[in-house]
């Protein structure tokens, strides 16, 4: 989990809306509902509407065009009224599609429930069977079943239901597996309920949303496919007619009277489209993952929306000066601040430690400096970051991108998730080189290998061809450092670079950073929660709590004489060798409430 994901706001005020209200807020879903309702109403009213008998033939009156007298939509090849046939056919198509859905939902859900609840061999046998059905191309299996049962509407219905069973079985099984191990199921079992009772009174109600989602996404298909089988002549048999067989029969007259086949097709399309629109709406309401808005595409640079714009240039400032930086996260209609107006400076060759617990805003601060906070939901709501006196947030997007990695480079926490898993590490380092230097591919790769060697990777030429998953944690972080050094940056921002590593590797990585800093005259902003690490490498330290800097000063001074209570408790958190349980007793008292989980 990254800091940013966990800090995504939960659905706030909208949580109070009921499912129906949410559904009615979705304009497309409402459109689908209205069209579907209209079609269903017309189809249901077919017996009472003043329309001719759909099966009354009149050969003298064949293939009348639309809007002809007495026949609003014309007549077909046997002189039958198309409007009447359309309404009756719609009735049949809907009935067949919905029946197929119910059958598939019943058997599929049953299989899924049993497989997910029983697990073991039952699960294995049932799901292998489902896999076998899915190994067939969808419609082909339906064809084979119709071939065996013989053409006919009912057989087509069965065939379509069977091929849709896997969708229900798989979805329901997935949810059931998770539910079967939950406490309330254990409680019911201990209460003496039988397996069947548990399945149908405890688990089924919790699985219903999944069944409804699957139904709403498959019913359109099932109408489409039963119509398709009828179109091929394998479904409805004359004189019975659904939309598909009307379309299929009319095809012979395609060139002379296209409306005979086009009209029923249009009806299928309208029907399926309205169902799919409504189904998407239902899914959005019932699937909570889509509600949080987590699927918004992050912008290249964090959105900058400052109430007051500070001067774009302030001469006379040092290498890096952060002034009243404020970063917030959009939450519902408002914003929740994560960094509340912090200021600090960083001079050439200096190492500043930014320390605080998870959720104190230290990572968000680090990412804000180069506009890397994912946005949405992140917004820079105030303050400025001056790099040699020029405000970064006043630059155009391309200007900020040009500084990233060139002047200010990052090392992130977990090198397994922060290195791209699908590219060799050498290429990833070379890419950082050529992002800012116009040298050839080969020269960039040579430089990358040299960088890998600089950060202490043995046999760098070979290792350059490795993928991240083939390296150890320490080596991966060395790659991350090599990538950061690719363009000789002035400032290195290390966001908990050693937290994901074990202690011995951690020590070596710190040694490497310290070494590089001295050799290259780098300024280092070191984000950590560990005062032990700060004591080792930082010249100065700033202590962050709840998005604010509560204390700042030289490391030695702060360690010797911390002023703020929070600083004292953080310092006390560094265990001493041989302390044993006494450490837990000592630290436990310092944090009366468990530290806030979530964003760091």
């Amino acid at each position: 989990m990254t800091a940013l994901e966990t800090s995504a706001p939960p659905p706030a005020a909208s949580g109070r809306l009921t499912g129906w209200q949410l559904l009615f807020n979705n304009k497309l879903a409402v459109l689908g509902l209205v069209v579907l309702g209209l079609i269903c109403l017309l189809a249901a009213l077919a017996p009472v509407l003043p329309i001719p008998n759909p099966n009354a033939t009149a050969t003298a009156n064949r293939m009348q065009p639309i809007f002809s007298e007495g026949h609003l939509l014309g007549t077909d090849q046997l002189g039958r009224d198309i409007l009447a046939r359309l309404l009756w056919g719609t009735q049949i198509s809907i009935a067949v599609g919905v029946s197929a859905t119910l059958i598939a939902a019943f058997f599929g859900s049953l299989i899924g429930l049993v497989a997910g609840y029983a697990r073991g061999r039952v699960d294995n046998v049932l799901m292998r069977g489902i896999d076998m059905i899915m190994a067939f191309p969808y419609i082909l299996l339906a064809l084979a079943i119709v071939a065996a049962l013989g053409p006919g509407l009912l057989n087509a219905l069965y065939a379509i239901a069977v091929v849709n069973i896997p969708f229900f079985a798989r979805n329901v099984r997935g949810v059931t597996v998770g539910l079967a191990t939950r406490e309330f199921v254990d409680a019911a079992r201990l209460g003496g309920k039988g397996h069947a009772a548990i399945l149908f009174t405890e688990i089924l109600p919790n699985v219903l949303p999944v069944i409804v989602i699957t139904m709403s996404t498959t019913v359109g298909w099932m109408i489409l496919e039963t119509a398709g089988l009828s179109f091929l002549g394998l479904g409805a048999q004359p004189p019975q007619a659904d939309l598909g067989s009307m379309l299929g029969d009319g095809r012979a007259q395609l060139f002379t009277s296209p409306h005979v086949s086009i009209i029923p097709g249009l009806m299928i399309f309208a029907l399926v489209m309205s169902i799919n629109l409504l189904g998407d709406g239902v899914r959005d309401v019932l699937d909570p993952r889509l509600k949080a808005g987590a699927l918004n595409r992050p912008m290249p640079v964090t959105r900058i929306d400052r109430k007051t714009t500070p001067p774009a240039e302030k001469p006379g400032l040092g290498l890096l000066a952060v002034e009243n930086l404020e970063t917030s996260f959009a939450r519902g209609r408002g914003t929740a601040p994560a960094v509340k107006g912090i200021s600090f400076t960083l001079e050439k060759g200096e190492c500043l430690g930014l320390i605080g617990e998870s959720g104190s805003g230290k990572s968000v601060t680090a990412l804000s400096l180069m506009g890397l906070v994912a946005s949405p939901p992140g917004i820079i709501t105030g303050g400025a970051v001056y790099l040699e006196g020029r405000d970064i947030f006043s630059l155009p997007e391309a200007g900020i991108t040009a500084l990233r990695g060139q002047r200010v480079a990052y090392i992130f926490q977990d090198p397994l998730t922060t290195l791209h898993p699908l590219f060799p590490v050498g290429e990833q380092v070379a890419e950082a080189v050529s992002a800012h230097q116009s040298i050839g591919r080969r020269a960039a790769m040579e430089k990358a290998v040299a960088l890998l060697e600089d950060v202490g990777i043995p046999e760098p030429a070979q290792r350059a061809k490795s993928y991240p998953h083939q390296l150890s944690g320490g080596q991966r972080q060395r790659v991350g450092i090599a990538m950061a050094l690719a363009n000789d940056p002035d400032i290195l921002i290390a966001d908990e670079p050693t937290t994901a590593l074990d202690v011995t590797v951690q020590a070596r990585i710190l040694e490497l950073l310290q070494d590089l800093r001295k050799k290259r005259g780098l300024a280092l902003l070191f984000i950590t929660h560990d005062f032990g690490v700060v004591a080792q490498i930082c010249d100065r330290v700033a202590v962050m709590q709840h998005g604010k800097i509560v204390e700042t000063g030289e490391t030695a001074k702060i360690l010797a004489d911390p002023q703020h209570a929070y600083t004292k408790s953080l310092i006390a958190c560094v265990p001493e060798l041989g302390e044993g349980r006494a450490f837990l007793d000592r630290v436990g008292k310092l944090f009366p409430q468990p530290g806030a989980e979530g964003a760091s």
């Binding site: 292998r128 076998m132 190994a135 067939f136 191309p137 969808y138 419609i139 082909l140 064809l143 084979a144 119709v146 071939a147 065996a148 049962l149 013989g150 053409p151 359109g220 489409l224 398709g228 179109f231 091929l232 002549g233 379309l247 095809r251 395609l254 060139f255 296209p258 086949s261 086009i262 097709g265 399309f269 399926v272 799919n276 629109l277 699927l295 595409r297 992050p298 890397l372 991108t401 040009a402 500084l403 990233r404 990695g405 060139q406 990052y410 998730t417 922060t418 290195l419 791209h420 898993p421 699908l422 590219f423 950082a432 992002a435 993928y467 998953h469 991350g480 990538m483 690719a486 363009n487």
Partner: protein, 315 residues
């Protein structure tokens, strides 16, 4: 890589085995009597018994299956009694035409689906995204057999720019360009649904990948947004979309049944529809089996492509 392909091939064997059982069972459990179907309802009991013995239908089911699989291994799928020729010959001939149609469709839907999905994700909530989302909705809701008729009406009847049906022109055709002209309408129609599905999933995959830590790393390096999207994000998204393309192969092979009927494409789908109507059971059996097996191979191909993209899958 060779080892990985070998492993996947081995894993495909039980699937093929299962397919053969299902196909065999569906056909073996047909109500009614194949002998009567062949001889007609006026057959004498002696003749029926003789046909049953010839076809091995008097033996227990599992023996029948073993005999059937044994013959299958030797390339013998029986004879089509309506066409009076070996099922395998007919099926392979027809399958060639279906394979051309399905492959071209699959290429089309992959290209357009991926492109549309990327544009949709990059321009999220912009007009291009809305337009593509609308197209996707239409694409997955439209009956392909109806769309085919519309295509014929527009391009073959109204504008007379493309042929309405068949694989080659009756007179003077037969070369590659003739085939291509005949392919355009059916292949496009067949690709529409799959394009929609692939576009939808590509969009979702791109949006998900763009939130990953390693994309943030790419941005922190100072890469241009173009490189971030088309190199870093797209490669990861592709890894999750490739299996979906494999699954779409199934929908394309199945959907070919409609398209071949509409455009009178001489493929296996049109053959199956005829064989079902004429109760030519052995031909149905052979046709279904070959198409289903080819779907397994398409999925295998998707697995291999996925492993080529993602080195983690090989180990």
């Amino acid at each position: 890589m060779a080892g990985y392909i070998g492993k996947r091939l081995l894993a495909a064997i039980p699937v093929l085995f299962g397919l053969s059982i299902i196909v065999f069972l569906i056909m073996a459990l047909i109500p009614g009597d194949p002998a009567t179907a062949i001889l007609g309802s006026f057959a004498t009991p002696e003749n029926v018994a003789r046909i049953n013995r010839d076809l091995g239908l008097d033996r227990p089911l599992h023996e029948q299956y073993l005999v059937w699989v044994g013959n299958l291994m030797q390339g013998d799928l029986g004879r089509s009694f309506r066409l009076n020729r070996p099922v395998l010959d007919e099926v392979l001939e027809r399958f060639g035409a279906t394979l051309i149609l399905a492959s071209v469709s699959l290429v089309l839907c992959s290209i357009f689906g991926l492109l549309a999905g990327i544009v949709s994700a990059v321009r999220q909530f912009g007009w291009a995204d809305r337009l593509i989302t609308l197209f996707v909705l239409i694409g997955i809701s439209i009956p392909s057999f109806w769309l085919g008729l519309l295509m014929i009406l527009i391009f073959a009847v109204q504008w007379r720019v493309l042929p309405a049906s068949g694989m080659y022109a009756v007179y003077g055709g037969g070369d590659f360009w003739d085939l291509l002209r005949h392919l355009i309408l059916p292949a496009t129609t067949l690709a529409v649904v799959a394009t929609g599905v692939i576009a939808r999933l590509t969009r979702a995959a791109m949006l998900e990948v763009l939130r990953q830590d390693y994309v943030r790393t790419a941005r922190a390096k100072g890469l241009s947004e173009r490189k971030v999207i088309y190199k870093h994000a797209f490669k990861s998204a592709l890894v999750s979309v490739v299996p979906v393309i494999g699954i779409q192969a199934g929908f394309v092979l199945g959907g070919a049944v409609y398209i071949e009927t509409v455009f009178q494409w001489p493929g296996i789908g049109a053959m199956l529809v005829n064989a079902i109507s004429t109760r030519d059971i052995l031909l149905v059996q052979g046709g279904v089996l070959v198409v289903a097996a080819s779907y397994v191979l398409f999925n295998l191909l998707a697995d291999v492509v996925q492993a080529l993209l993602d080195p983690r899958l090989k180990s």
